[in-house]
C-alpha cells in the first residue's frame, strides 16, 4: 500500500479533508487560532509527502485507478468515486500540495494580527480548499470532477471574502462566485450532454471510446464547447475574466494559492484531461480566445498601479498562454507551463505579499528603493520575474517557448503573433513593477513610507489589522522567507534543468503529440529577444528615465485610456445587466400588477357584490326570522306529506 501510487494519492487527498473536518466540527479548537493553524499545516505537510510518494511510486506511463461504485441504479452504478493517479495528475498533485503547504506556512506570519477565531476560520477554508483542489486533480470521472470543481469555487468565494467586513471584498467574492458560476453552468450542461450520448462520466472509458472510434459523436462540438465554457469561467478567459483582478481583495496568500497557482489553472487542467474529445473547430476557438485573453490582460497589466492587480492580470495573461497551447493541439505544453507558472506565480504573489506586509500598501507609488531594505525579497521577486519573462535558466523559459512553438506547429499563426507581442509586454510590465518597487526612488516621495498618514489611508492596503506603524520595511521573518526561497529554488532548478537538458518531464499523451513538433531555430532567439527588449524598455523608462513615462503614456493615448477603464468590459456587463434586469422586471411588474392582481381583484369584486346581494336577507328584525322559520316548517310538512309518504 505504501508504495502504491493510488493509495498514496488517496492519502494525500484525504489528509486535508480530515483536517477540515476536525477544524469544522470542533468549534472551540478552531477558534483557538494558532493550534488550528498548526493542525492544518501539519496535515498539509503530510499531504505533500504523500503526493511526492505517489509521484515517485508511479512508473512511467502507469495509470493507477482506485474506484468505488457510486449512485447505484437497478444494480448498475451510474458513476464511480475514487482517484486516478497517472503522470499528470500526480505532478499536479505535488504542485497543489506544495503551494498549499507553503502558503499555509506563510500565512501564519502574514496574518499574525488576525484574531484567533478568524485565523482558525482561515485555515479551515484552506484545508477544505486543498481537499477540493486535489479532488479536481485526481478525479477519475467528470461527475466527481464537477463536484470538486464547485467546492473549489466555494472556497475561492469564502477566502476572497475572508475580510467580509470590507464591502469591496464582499462584492469581489460575490462577483467571483457568480462569474465562475456562469461558466460552470456550461460545464454541467456539457457533462450531462456527454453522458447522454456516451453513457459514461469516466475519463478512461471516454478515452477508450475515442481510440476505438465510437467518438466523434453527433454534437461533439457543442458538448466540448460547453465543457470549455466551464474552463473559461474558472481560468478567467476573455469574456469572463473580470472576476480575477477583483479577487485580489482577498488576503495575498490566498491570491497566491487560489488565484495564481492552483484554482484558476483548474480550467487548463480540465481541458488538458479532456482534450482528446475536442474537435478542431472548438480547439481553434480555444486558441484564439486564449491568445486574445493573453494580449488583453497584458495590456491591462501595463497600466495598473496596484502590485497585486498587475500580478492578477499577468495570471490571466499566462492562463491565456496555456489555453492557446491547448487550442493549438499541444495540451502538454500548456500543462508544462501550468506547472512552472504555478511555481513562479505563487513566488511572485508571496513576494508581493512580503512587500505589502512591509510597506502597508498595495500601491506601486508608495514603494521604491526597497532592494536595499529587503534584499532577500528583492532577489526572490527578481527570480520570479525573470521566470515569468521567459529568460533562459529561469522557470518559465522553456514552457513559454514550448507554447510559442506549439502554436506555430499547430499552424495557429494569428495566436502566435499575439503571443509574441504578449511576451514583450509581459517582460515590460513585470520589470516595471521590479524597477518601481525595488530600485527606482521616486522623487515625489522623500519618505515613501509614512505609514498611517499616507499609504494606508490611500486605499487598497489589504490588511485591515495594522497594529505596528512607523518602522522601516525589512525582509519578513523566516517563516515567510522560507516559502519564498523554496519556490525560488524550485523555479531556478526547473529553469536550469530545462534549459540545459531540454524538456524536463515526459508526458504520456504529450510525448506522442509533441514528438512531431520541432520548433524552428529562430524561435528561441526571437522569444528571448522580445523579452529582453521588454526588460530594456522598462529599464529605460522606469530606472534610467531616459524615456519619460508620461510621454510614453501620451503616445499610447487612446489605448491607455481604454486600458485604464479596463476596456469598459465591466461597465458593459453592468450596463447590460442593469438594462436587461430593468426591462425584465418591468415586464414582470406589469404582469404582476395587471394579470395576477387583476384576476384577484375581479374575484374579490364578485365576492363583494354577491355579499351585498345576500346581506339584504338579514333584516335584523326578529319577526322576519320567525316568519322564515314558519314558512320553512310549512315547506317541511308539505314535503313530508307529498314527497315522502
Amino acid at each position: 500500500m505504501m508504495s502504491d501510487p493510488g493509495g498514496l494519492a488517496l492519502i494525500a487527498l484525504l489528509l486535508p479533508a480530515v483536517s477540515f473536518l476536525i477544524l469544522a466540527i470542533v468549534a472551540p479548537f478552531r477558534r483557538s487560532g494558532r493550534p488550528a493553524a498548526f493542525t492544518s499545516i501539519i496535515f498539509a505537510a503530510g499531504s505533500l509527502a504523500a503526493a511526492i510518494g505517489a509521484w515517485r511510486g508511479h512508473a512511467e506511463g502507469q495509470v493507477t485507478r482506485l474506484a468505488w461504485e457510486w449512485l447505484p441504479s437497478n444494480g448498475v452504478s451510474i458513476a464511480t468515486v475514487g482517484v486516478l493517479a497517472d503522470g499528470d495528475s500526480t505532478l499536479m498533485l505535488i504542485l497543489v500540495a506544495l503551494v498549499a503547504f507553503l502558503v499555509q506556512l506563510y500565512s501564519l506570519e502574514y496574518l499574525h494580527d488576525e484574531p484567533p477565531a478568524a485565523l482558525g476560520r482561515y485555515y479551515t477554508y484552506h484545508s477544505l480548499f486543498a481537499f477540493s483542489m486535489m479532488g479536481v486533480v485526481l478525479a477519475p470521472n467528470l461527475l466527481q470532477l464537477f463536484i470538486s470543481w464547485e467546492l473549489v469555487g466555494l472556497c475561492s468565494f469564502l477566502l476572497i471574502g475572508f475580510w467580509y467586513q470590507k464591502p469591496e471584498a464582499a462584492r469581489a467574492a460575490v462577483k467571483a462566485f457568480w462569474t465562475t458560476k456562469a461558466g460552470d453552468v456550461g460545464l454541467l450542461i456539457g457533462i450531462i450532454l456527454l453522458w447522454r450520448v456516451t453513457g459514461t462520466f469516466d475519463l478512461g472509458e471516454l478515452r477508450t471510446m475515442v481510440t476505438s472510434g465510437a467518438v466523434p459523436i453527433e454534437g461533439l462540438s457543442l458538448i466540448t464547447f460547453c465543457i470549455y465554457l466551464g474552463a473559461v469561467g474558472k481560468s478567467a478567459q476573455f469574456p469572463l475574466h473580470t472576476w480575477l483582478p477583483d479577487a485580489m481583495e482577498g488576503p495575498t496568500p490566498v491570491s497566491a494559492l487560489i488565484h495564481a497557482a492552483t484554482m484558476v489553472t483548474a480550467g487548463v487542467y480540465l481541458l488538458h484531461r479532456t482534450v482528446f474529445l475536442f474537435p478542431p473547430d472548438v480547439l481553434m476557438v480555444v486558441a484564439w480566445i486564449g491568445a486574445f485573453t493573453a494580449l488583453l490582460a497584458a495590456v491591462l497589466a501595463c497600466v495598473q498601479d496596484d502590485i497585486k492587480r498587475v500580478l492578477a492580470y499577468s495570471t490571466v495573461s499566462q492562463l491565456g498562454y496555456m489555453m492557446a497551447a491547448i487550442g493549438a493541439g499541444f495540451s502538454a505544453a500548456g500543462f508544462f507551463h501550468l506547472l512552472t507558472h504555478g511555481l513562479f506565480k505563487a513566488l511572485l504573489f508571496l513576494g508581493a505579499g512580503a512587500v505589502i506586509h512591509a510597506v502597508h500598501s498595495n500601491d506601486l507609488s508608495h514603494m521604491g528603493g526597497l532592494a536595499k531594505k529587503m534584499p532577500q525579497t528583492a532577489l526572490v521577486f527578481a527570480i520570479g520575474t525573470l521566470s515569468l519573462a521567459g529568460i533562459p535558466f529561469f522557470g518559465g523559459f522553456l514552457s513559454k517557448e514550448e507554447i510559442l512553438g506549439a502554436t506555430l506547429a499547430g499552424h495557429q499563426t494569428g495566436p502566435f503573433v499575439l503571443l509574441i507581442v504578449v511576451a514583450f509586454l509581459t517582460a515590460f510590465y513585470m520589470f516595471r513593477v521590479v524597477f518601481l518597487a525595488f530600485f527606482a526612488v521616486r522623487a515625489t516621495h522623500a519618505s515613501p513610507l509614512h505609514v498611517g498618514a499616507g499609504p494606508a489611508e490611500a486605499g487598497h492596503y489589504d490588511q485591515p489589522h495594522r497594529s505596528d506603524s512607523h518602522h522601516t520595511p525589512h525582509d519578513p521573518p523566516a517563516v515567510m522567507m522560507l516559502p519564498l526561497w523554496v519556490l525560488a529554488a524550485l523555479s531556478l532548478a526547473v529553469g536550469v534543468y530545462s534549459t540545459v537538458v531540454g524538456r524536463v518531464l515526459q508526458f504520456g499523451p504529450a510525448a506522442e503529440a509533441g514528438a512531431e513538433h520541432v520548433a524552428p531555430a529562430w524561435l528561441t532567439p526571437a522569444a528571448v529577444g522580445v523579452a529582453i527588449a521588454g526588460i530594456a524598455l522598462a529599464w529605460l523608462v522606469y530606472q534610467r528615465r531616459t524615456i519619460d513615462a508620461a510621454k510614453l503614456a501620451a503616445a499610447f493615448g487612446p489605448i491607455r485610456t481604454a486600458a485604464l477603464h479596463k476596456f469598459w468590459i465591466d461597465d458593459i456587463y453592468e450596463g447590460i445587466l442593469a438594462f436587461a434586469l430593468l426591462a425584465f422586471s418591468r415586464i414582470v411588474g406589469w404582469l404582476d400588477r395587471y394579470l395576477v392582481d387583476g384576476v384577484l381583484n375581479v374575484v374579490s369584486a364578485w365576492t363583494v357584490s354577491a355579499g351585498d346581494l345576500l346581506r339584504t336577507v338579514q333584516t335584523g328584525r326578529a319577526q322576519d326570522y320567525v316568519y322564515g322559520v314558519a314558512v320553512g316548517v310549512l315547506i317541511l310538512i308539505l314535503w313530508i306529506r307529498w314527497a315522502l309518504v
Binding site: L614, T619, G620, V626
Partner: protein, 99 residues
C-alpha cells in the same frame, strides 16, 4: 263533538297566535301571540287525553301552563329591560343585527 273539532280549534288558535307573532309591532303583542300558540298546543294535549282516556296529556298540560307562566314573566321582564335600554318596545325598531 268529535276530536276533529278540537283539533281545528287548536289549529285556528295556533295560526292566530303565529299571525300575531309575525305581524305585531309591539313586543308585548308578540308575547301574547306566543301565549296563544302555547295554549293551542294545550288544547291539543287535553283533547287527545280525553279521547284516548289517558291522564298523561292532562298532566303534561299542567306542566305546560306552569312553564308558560314562567316564560311570560321572563318575557315581560325582558321587555321592560329592553324599554329601559332602547326607550322603545316596537319590534321593527330593534334591528341592530341588520346585515
Amino acid at each position: 263533538m268529535g276530536l276533529q273539532a278540537y283539533l281545528i280549534l287548536a289549529a285556528t288558535v295556533f295560526c292566530i297566535g303565529l299571525f300575531g307573532v309575525v305581524t305585531r309591532r309591539n313586543t308585548i303583542g308578540i308575547l301574547l301571540g306566543i301565549e296563544l300558540m302555547l295554549n293551542a298546543v294545550n288544547i291539543n294535549l287535553v283533547a287527545f287525553s280525553h279521547f284516548n282516556a289517558t291522564a298523561t296529556g292532562m298532566i303534561f298540560t299542567l306542566f305546560t301552563i306552569c312553564i308558560t307562566v314562567s316564560e311570560a314573566a321572563i318575557g315581560l321582564a325582558l321587555v321592560i329591560l329592553l324599554f329601559r335600554v332602547r326607550r322603545t318596545v316596537m319590534a321593527d325598531h330593534l334591528d341592530i343585527l341588520k346585515g
